[in-house]
Amino acid sequence: MSTFPVTLEVRSSVKPLAWAVPAALLLFALPHAIDPYQTILLAYGLVMAIAALGFNLLLGYTGLLSFGHSAYFGLGAYAVAFMVKYLHVQSLELLVLGAVVASLAVSALFGFVCVRYTRIFFSILTLALSQVLWSLAFKFFWVTGGSDGLRVPTPAVLGRLPDPAEDKILFLANAYYYYVLVLFLACVLVMWVIVNSPFGKALQAIRDNETRAEFVGIQIRRYRFVAFLVSGAFTGLAGALWVPLNGLTTPDILYWPFSGEIVFMSVLGGFRTFAGPIVGAVVFNYLKTSAVGFTVYWQALLGAILVFLVLALPAGIVGTFKHLLLWLRKRAFR
């Protein structure tokens, strides 16, 4: 679908580790070097990175642009809030599990409808369906809290009940940060395995040429459906991890401009690369936080950045970096 040249790369199993291992070590060490506020900010970034990673399985690998991923993120978040409020579940592991199951169920329902379409129709349909959830969260205020949303207290992590005397900021910057980090790394690993598996290759074949993929014997709709499910589950997991961090879930995260933000992150990092959405999510999070602190017109600032990216840097941060590396290497060997 895309028109800009994609460089064919030779994949070896060692090369990505040269980037991934130092990055993971850095993420483990960082909380000791930066203040708790920065750590929490980074935790937000990692949570969004899980969502963007899931989103990009559809956009980058299957060629389907979803403008409705706020649905699965919001669903994960609301599932946690409901379980806390109505079922009095305290264990974070149970909450996360429940949220993933809930978002799987809804992505199965939505996916069944959406994968029949591609291109712009897919985008509009995912958007319209996500707004069904938004309107429900908004209107059934006696269940969902309406526009006030639902408050979610600190959950029990690994069976350890929250200590009322403990400072919440320190809890989020320490125990919770590492919890998110471990899940994030697990997600990266799982997604890496998925996109490099025969299944992932089939998705990329569908993205590059639907007709040929079908002739090779790939059942396009079924593959798209499974990709949709995985994508929804990842984004739902992100939503579930986001709630304790935020302490509150409101219909804003179900509203479609939030889907736009997830798209923004992937494009900022570069949706044609594996690491792009991760980098994009973390950078976007910093970008948005500093833009909001810098001016009331932060939206215009982010919008201008997005337009600039589309017009001038369509490969995103990671994609541009890769092009640059390739170019430097070519020059060095000349």
Binding site: S123, A128, Q131, S135, Y255, A300, L302, V307
Partner: protein, 292 residues
């Protein structure tokens, strides 16, 4: 009985506004194959400009003359459209669809803040026009005259647009470009000009919708984002790129919403979206759409 008439009028009122917004969106898609996510913001822009002209700039003018100022918002939105198409959209036609959506999403964020910058975060009202119009009696109940005016404008707009697209020379060129841009271009049609004109007309319609709603409801931030999603529902039901579809879709949404508000207010929006989904499952290209 008169309650039914009033409900019918309300449904038509809503349909008129929706037709103008969705018709513009659909016209632009039909000709240029681009979905403008910032379309709702042009609707909001039209609303703000009219509220501002009627409410502050010419506040002291005789109310009869104020009605002549109503189209100010439509003209302003058209002017914005005429600037945007050649500068922002033209470089994107050869690019993949995701980039077109993203660029217009960026535009949406920018326009939202431009309006915040120009008119501040508070709602802007142009209610003089609504109040001065008074009300009429329908079978014993009072109904605002202004609402009837909006219905009239919506109907007239649909008529004019139909005549314009199907009865004028420019309409022929427009349809030819929409069906086969390359061939039209080879036959001597200046495609760039058609594009900028089509986009301007689409924005004019969105701006007009904003201009005519603002006397009865204030211009607020976020109204564009809300309106866009409803316009999507309309074009999905009617078929993206079809003006007849936009008209029928707007009528369906207008009527269902009117019933929904009184019968099932909680799931009114959800029902609208579900109708859109059902239409897509039964007729993938919408009721009036050409197969994609």
């Amino acid at each position: 009985m008169d309650i039914l008439v009033i409900h019918a009028f309300n449904g038509l009122l809503y349909a008129s506004v929706l037709f103008l917004i969705a018709g513009g969106l659909s016209l632009i898609y039909g000709v240029m194959r681009i979905v403008n996510l910032a379309h709702g913001n042009l609707f909001a822009f039209g609303a703000y400009v009219t509220a501002w002209t009627v409410g502050s700039v010419f506040a002291g003018v005789h109310p009869g003359l104020l009605y002549l100022l109503l189209p100010a918002g439509a003209l302003a939105a058209a002017a914005v459209g005429a600037i945007l198409e050649p500068t922002l959209l033209r470089p994107l036609y050869r690019r993949a669809e995701e980039y077109q959506l993203l660029a217009t999403f960026g535009l949406l964020m920018i326009l939202e803040d431009v309006m915040r910058f120009l008119w501040g975060p508070y709602p802007l009202s142009g209610s003089t026009l609504f109040e001065k119009a008074g009300s009429v009696s329908i079978g014993g109940s009072r109904y605002p005259t202004y609402n009837l005016l909006v219905i009239g404008i919506g109907g007239l707009a649909a008529l004019f647009l139909w005549a314009f697209v199907y009865k004028t020379r420019f309409g022929v060129v427009l349809r030819a470009t929409s069906q086969d841009m390359r061939r039209a271009s080879a036959l001597g049609v200046n495609v760039n000009r058609v594009y900028v004109e089509a986009f301007t007309i689409g924005c004019f319609m969105a701006g007009l919708a904003g201009a005519i709603v603002v006397p009865s409801q204030s211009a607020v931030l976020g109204m564009g984002v809300d309106a866009l999603v409803l316009a999507f529902v309309v074009v999905v039901i009617g078929g993206l790129g079809s003006l007849e579809g936009a008209l029928v879709g707007a009528l369906i949404v207008g009527v269902v919403r009117e019933i929904g508000i009184s019968v099932f207010p909680e799931i009114e929006l959800a029902v609208l979206y579900l109708i859109a989904v059902i239409v897509l499952l039964v007729r993938p290209a919408g009721l009036f759409g050409r197969a994609a």
